[in-house]
């Protein structure tokens, strides 16, 4: 005999109010899949929409901080690649495709040459390993990846920009706030710019590069 959704909801509420951190998925597993489980899920969601935030003591807060998913999110917040190295391989595996297959589909989608497949796969691997800044990915590639991997472009964008949103804003006006004379710094900057100006121009981006490195409009 399974407990009723009403009874389980009440137990969940009592645990929540007491700050005992009830786990929704464990509760859902106590009823058979189907109408009863759906009813309990909806009832718990309703409760969570209006529930007061329980007082969490230091131990409970430390416990939450130690949750693997929280650790991963906190770790990703400081990274250029944001959450992509964490979510991209998982989404791909869930979609049941290899990096090579994704590359092949992208090549077809963007009418690239057959010879571009290896380079596309390489870019994809770099993205999955956090070696490429995902904010440089073009919007059309985001849309295509989203369709292939079953995620919206917006979700992928959020995951990409996740780390950057938590950094200090660009320090415009630093020179004006400097207490020491700024000339040596300015001279150094000019020297770097002058060196860069003397370097030969980098090769222009081809279509594959534009997709992966060209920025949103690329």
């Amino acid at each position: 005999m399974f407990p009723t959704p009403d009874l389980l909801l009440s137990q969940f509420i009592d645990e929540w109010n007491a700050g005992r951190r009830p786990n929704v998925r464990e509760y859902l597993r106590r009823v058979p899949e189907g109408a009863a489980r759906d009813e309990l899920a909806d009832a718990i969601a309703d409760w969570l929409a209006v529930a007061p935030t329980p007082e969490l003591d230091a131990a409970a807060r430390a416990q939450i901080r130690a949750e693997p998913v929280v650790q991963r999110v906190f770790a990703a917040a400081g990274e250029d690649a944001g959450l992509w190295p964490q979510v991209l391989p998982g989404l791909r595996e869930q979609a049941g495709v290899s990096v090579k297959q994704v590359a092949s589909r992208l090549v077809a989608r963007f009418s690239l040459g057959k010879g571009d497949e290896a380079r596309t796969a390489d870019y994809l691997r770099q993205l999955e390993q956090g070696e490429l800044d995902p904010t440089r990915v073009s919007r059309r590639l985001l849309d295509a990846l989203g369709e292939l991997l079953g995620a919206s472009a917006q979700t992928l964008t959020d995951a990409a920009t996740f780390g950057q949103g938590l950094r200090p804003a660009a320090a415009g006006g630093t020179l004006l706030r400097a207490e020491d004379p700024a000339q040596p710094w300015v001279a150094a900057d000019f020297a770097i710019l002058a060196d860069a100006a003397l370097e030969p121009a980098p090769p222009s981006l081809d279509e594959v590069d534009r997709l992966f490195l060209g920025g949103p409009e690329g």
Partner: protein, 196 residues
């Protein structure tokens, strides 16, 4: 966000981490309820990660002018949305805009909101409590007298035993009154959010 504007990344980071810790159980629970236990652990964690990244994005870009009450509601909405992303085919659910409740202008003028990060966090949480208190007070009048008594005691933190003792109810009766009362409140909250 002035911590961000002023380059005080540590303060901003601490503030954000504390907020994530505060909202984590609710977010995790809403994601679990949204997929109704159909995602495996890995998929669930991925959905929670994505929900937290969306939450962070929205917080940073639109926090100013968004109450914590809206935040909770938007959390529920985005948990549903993220689950649709992670497992699109399994559930029929509301297809509301992800940006519902997050319409504050991204005008770049939000930097002052990061000031005094810790006090801001507390203020925001107090705001949420006040918003919810005001909503509950009004919404409770729509419940039947018995439902109102049970739900009121629930919000005061009373466990089911105590509710049965104080109101002279059987357990089954108390479970039912609690469930139905809360369902009605949640519906009223949805109506309230839709209207505003």
């Amino acid at each position: 966000m002035a911590a961000r504007g002023a380059g005080d990344a540590d303060a901003m980071r601490r503030w954000w981490e504390e907020l994530v810790i505060t909202i984590f159980d609710r977010m995790d629970g809403l994601v679990g309820a949204a997929h109704k236990g159909r995602l495996d652990d890995e998929e669930h964690d991925r959905a929670v990660s994505l929900a937290l990244s969306r939450f962070t994005f929205n917080l940073i870009h639109t926090f100013e002018g968004v109450s914590m009450g809206e935040l909770v509601n938007a959390t529920k909405t985005l948990a549903n949305f993220i689950c649709m992303d992670v497992q699109r085919s399994s559930m029929a659910r509301r297809t509301v805009s992800l940006d519902h409740g997050w319409d504050a202008d991204d005008d770049g003028g939000s930097s002052s909101a990061w000031e005094a990060a810790e006090s801001q966090r507390r203020f925001a949480l107090d705001e949420h409590a006040r918003d919810m208190d005001a909503f509950r007070e009004e919404a409770m009048t729509h419940l039947s007298p018995r439902q109102r008594e049970v739900v009121d005691l629930t919000f005061q933190g009373a466990e089911i035993e105590e509710i049965c003792d104080r109101l002279g109810l059987t357990r089954d009766n108390a479970y039912q009154l609690r469930s139905r009362g809360l369902r009605k409140l949640a519906q009223l909250l949805r109506d309230h959010e839709d209207a505003s």
